[in-house]
Symmetry: C3
Subunit: 488 residues, 3 copies
């Protein structure tokens, strides 16, 4: 427990304490309750927010909690598939997400609700912070097992600042529609993580990078909660009929994706068995791929086509593309985020652009101008006056045509890719600074790096290793040795 | 990977792809968003559905998600109790349910919302599709471990078509009340599955048909989520006070059932210990048994009596009846669905009939005619005119008396039994067609049939087998052999 | 299976059956649906409750279900961390909670909604019963592994009666504010359990009192669901803006607590690794510590300070205080409830008192009198008349000042401590009565006490024991012996 030891293994401690203190100070200076959560101000607009019915909390809360479960149970357990990395998967996921919830409140708040003095928070701030955490957790999937908790915490802080800027650019400057954040969260998170992984580049041929029977079942807890609550992710911030539609489209996209992923997994796997990696991940690709167009009039069968394509692409990616990327480009992708979030996110961006380019007022009615706010007529025009007559609460738009909107959607996809990759490369270089340490070769994909692991488990591993490497030795003697090696 | 191999082991692949394509085409031709989810039409009834408050999504969504969790986490993990069949339990459950969600949307849609041209879908269509999937997942429980994924997928397609017809017969032709679908889902699913199992009849004395310590705890995840969210299952489609009542009755029925099941389990088990099988299953029988009467005025203590009886019957069924059915009738029932869904479902039908036969306008007020729509007076009668004066939105009924309603309820129970058993027998015969294959003798209850199982787990099993059968052999040698046998 | 055997091991059976029968009788005599759940009476106030919109079920249900998940999945799995006690942790938790749901409905009902003839139940009765079950499950955490199911059931019955009285005293007599029940549930449950543990005092140095790799991951399921749904626990019974605030405060308190707990865990643990016990428990302390003040105007940064302090105190408690309490005072605390519920609950009481003592009408607006009902002016005073003019639904208060309210808050903390400790001591003495039996020395922390444990698991344990104690013996022989010892 010497000072040197602290410098070697305890470097994350001052960092974590420092950012937590910084968060508290920044919250103290900049954050306050928005009207609906503020005792005195809730009375402002004739006391509505003081009642359960008049407060928006009730509307957002159920979907917020679903998304919350996705972040901590979904992503956390999805990553427990590694047989010796379960503690880190679920617990470091927990730590990183808890950091991001606070930091994203600040970063997003500055862009969204900052009035020059204060950031105003409501339940939607919490929901947005959870969305933001998805970005980092996706990137986490690309580098899990090859990064220290300190490196991940630093990555989270860098990534969220860049993410929030890109989100602002997409939603408020370019005024694109991406209700399920497939571009702004999934594409961003995946390619950012892959860029970081590319820079960190470890030689990671480790037998520990595999699953055990129990770890695979733990991972299915994550998979299924993600699959179940994805409609809440894609619909959480939509309104009225658009929200209703987003739930329906996501539900059928995921159902079709699941069936397709099983079929294709079986088609391309050894002996036509199913492959757990595909089932754990590719069944979810339909949720990503429908994300951008989830609240558009894509129709249930359209959503099912998108889901089926995503499931197919994702399985093929795991089977054929990931090994190539790993071998040729040296980019390691532990959880295959390129197949679950990267490519399906790009599909989402394209589908969203096409659907947006085909959107007519005939099909959408007046809600066209809510869905694509930039398509509303410019203030002061005759069209604006006429529409305003029909719809009371119309905000002025930019007079974009359908195909212009489609163009902006595609532009945002490419901008997001560019920012994510360059941001990831820079962040990766930062993470390589000696001050942040790195995972020793023999602790890749190994909980022992950060955790005291119960002995009995070593035992099983001990025997297991015998069976692979040294079938002549007596297991008990070897076991004694194995315990000796690792614990003394 | 030869063509012959594909024909042997890959037969489910074209089937899965074909039904997925068929679903997409059928959805394209027949399915569209209902008003509340349709951009342009949401404006029809003065723009209400375009707002969060005016859209029914918010009301149904939380309970829908609870039911969704029950289907995929609840049923999926409940069946992971088999020590070597966890992958299949949770993942094949996932696949089958994803098929059913789509297929049931079509089958139920044709009966419920088809207007000659289109099926109109809303959140309640999704909720109904989830209910339908419960039927298949219950049947799955009867044949788990002895069927291939292809057989299960075929069973699902057949079963849902028959289920939807029976549901239509019960709810819309016979106009009975079964809010928790105890007859239409639980009785149907259980006896359909048992009939299939009867026809498939495999000699299934396998040491693999047992639990391990971890698999039992995984199964408790399923049990507890089912238990927690059962009030949502029974109340999801009820309205106002009836929904409130359905939640309360189910809650107390389940609490009483849980306590009783523990007590009876201990009473009839060896050394008066608790038996995990009972705890995993019989604690849920109260949810089934109160299903039909859940929204009726049965009173909390009535619900608790029903729950206690169901818990008792279910445990006794596991302890004494299942072995007899297996030995005498050759019907294998892997999860004991007869004890969890079959008998408690029959109890539910009887309790529902009695409660319906005792329902008076004094006790129910005007909501009697919402609860039992057939008891409303015939259109044109003086009674109808008078009631219509009091209740604006009264639909004309059939002028049934309380005891007539009770009779119809019982009749539906028997009709459901008859249709389920005969449907199951026919489906079982279909599943025996050579084209659908069958599980090889040595792969009963074994994930190896459909999955690549991680090696280290074999190892444990390898040792374990040694200890049971051959205490003289060196475990390591045996292990080497075991790996050799199964992997090369 | 002799009569003597029944008297030895089956004593809990008649107790469980008797209380279940008693519950049914008491419910039959005393409990009925409240208006909103009563068919005929729902029409009373112009038929509102017969519609989905007019019924309060929709408002409470999502948070109720979150709390329900916390009790059964959260507490149940949190306690599965013991490697040989997983069945008991999750299943006995289940049994005890099912007893409490019914018994608390009666005990709380007599204080809250009894009109001289009947207890009237709604969804809030169910929610309150779930809160009450938390109390017992917290106490369970202090004595898990050293008590029989019968002892726990008896403890539950005693504890709830005392708990409900104390709750009534706090909320209705002393009129304090404790929205997250940090004093009334957490402090009460923790110190009650510790007092029971103190009286039961077992010498519990058992190697079984530890975790395995898988059991630790199972426990994280509990931890994370508790962490996620804690905002629902703290906000479930609040209204409007206060509810909104309670969600926000709890969310940020927990996020800050999580980060701090990781940092401090690493700081004080061997080799600066993280300690799973801290991560599983101390990350939750922020939810407890903000409980009392959750709906007050404490501001997000205030909530984060409280969470950070609680996380720190909790980790330090596990590391330094628990061993001392165990050694010096002979109080065993299996799950460390003193660190998760006890001390953080005391912090909550103090924070609540300070915040209450600082509450002004300027800050709270008129909702001050909803938040702290006793601070409203006395009926008949001029102030009351003026306020009533502004707020229609004002209930008369007691004219308390801010500092008086703070004083009452602190008083309630001390009263709760006194009642919990004395109630726990008496209950502990009752549990020592020979009639209730006790856990044999060799079955402490061992599922074998109450469960038939699958053989193969013995096997692993068998080998494992060999490797620790007797490296010369052949594992297979020893295994045969181990099985022989425990199973024949």
């Amino acid at each position: 427990m010497s000072c040197k030891h602290f410098l070697m293994h305890g470097r994350h401690i001052p960092f974590l304490l420092a950012i937590q203190v910084a968060f508290i100070i920044l919250f103290g200076v900049f954050v306050e309750y928005d009207k609906e959560a503020h005792s005195a101000r809730a009375f402002d607009k004739d006391a509505n927010a003081t009642t359960n019915e008049g407060n928006s909390l009730g509307h957002y809360y159920p979907m917020f909690q679903d998304v919350h479960v996705m972040m901590f149970i979904g992503f956390g357990f999805l990553m427990t598939f590694l047989k010796k990395y379960g503690y880190s998967a679920v617990a470091v996921n927990f730590l990183i997400a808890a950091i991001v919830l606070q930091w994203a409140t600040l970063c997003q708040g500055f862009y969204h609700t900052f009035d020059g003095q204060k950031i105003h928070i409501t339940i939607t701030s919490l929901l947005n912070a959870d969305f933001a955490s998805a970005t980092v957790l996706i990137s986490f999937g690309a580098v899990i097992g090859v990064t220290t908790p300190l490196q991940l915490a630093v990555m989270a802080v860098c990534e969220i600042a860049i993410f929030a800027s890109n989100e602002h650019l997409g939603l408020e400057v370019l005024r694109i529609s991406d209700i399920g954040a497939s571009m702004l969260v999934h594409v961003f998170g995946a390619y950012f993580g892959l860029a970081v992984s590319c820079v960190l580049r470890r030689d990671v041929t480790s037998e520990k990078e595999g699953a055990s029977y129990n770890s695979d079942i733990f991972a299915m807890i994550g998979t299924i909660f993600l699959w179940l609550f994805w409609p809440s992710f894609n619909a959480g911030l939509a309104e009225g009929d658009a929200q209703h539609r987003a739930v329906i489209n996501t539900y059928y996209s995921l159902a079709a994706c699941c069936v397709t992923a099983f079929a294709i997994s079986s088609l391309v796997s050894k002996e036509h068995k199913f492959d757990m990696v595909h089932i754990q991940n590719s069944t979810l690709a339909g949720g990503v791929a429908i994300g951008t167009a989830a609240d558009m009039m894509i129709n249930p069968f359209g959503a099912m086509i998108v889901g089926s394509i995503a499931g197919t692409v994702s399985v093929l990616g795991y089977r054929y593309l990931t090994p190539v990327i790993n071998r040729k480009f040296g980019i390691h992708d532990t959880c295959g985020v390129h197949n679950l979030h990267g490519m399906p996110g790009v599909i989402a961006g394209i589908v969203g652009a096409i659907t947006a380019a085909a959107a007519t007022q005939e099909e959408y009615g007046y809600s066209l101008y809510r869905q694509f706010s930039a398509r509303g007529p410019l203030e002061g025009t005759a069209e604006y006056a006429e529409l305003h007559h029909h719809i009371g609460h119309l905000h002025p738009g930019l007079g974009r045509s359908a195909s212009m909107q489609g163009g902006y959607q595609i532009a945002t996809l490419f901008i997001t890719l560019a920012i994510a990759i360059s941001g990831g490369l820079v962040t990766g270089l930062i993470l390589r600074l000696p001050i942040f340490g790195k995972v020793p070769r023999d602790h890749l994909f190994d909980d022992e790096l950060s955790w005291e692991v119960p002995e009995e488990d070593h035992h099983h591993q001990g025997i297991s290793q015998v069976s692979h490497h040294d079938t002549s030795a007596s297991p008990m003697v070897h076991h004694g040795k194995a315990v000796g090696d690792t614990h003394i």
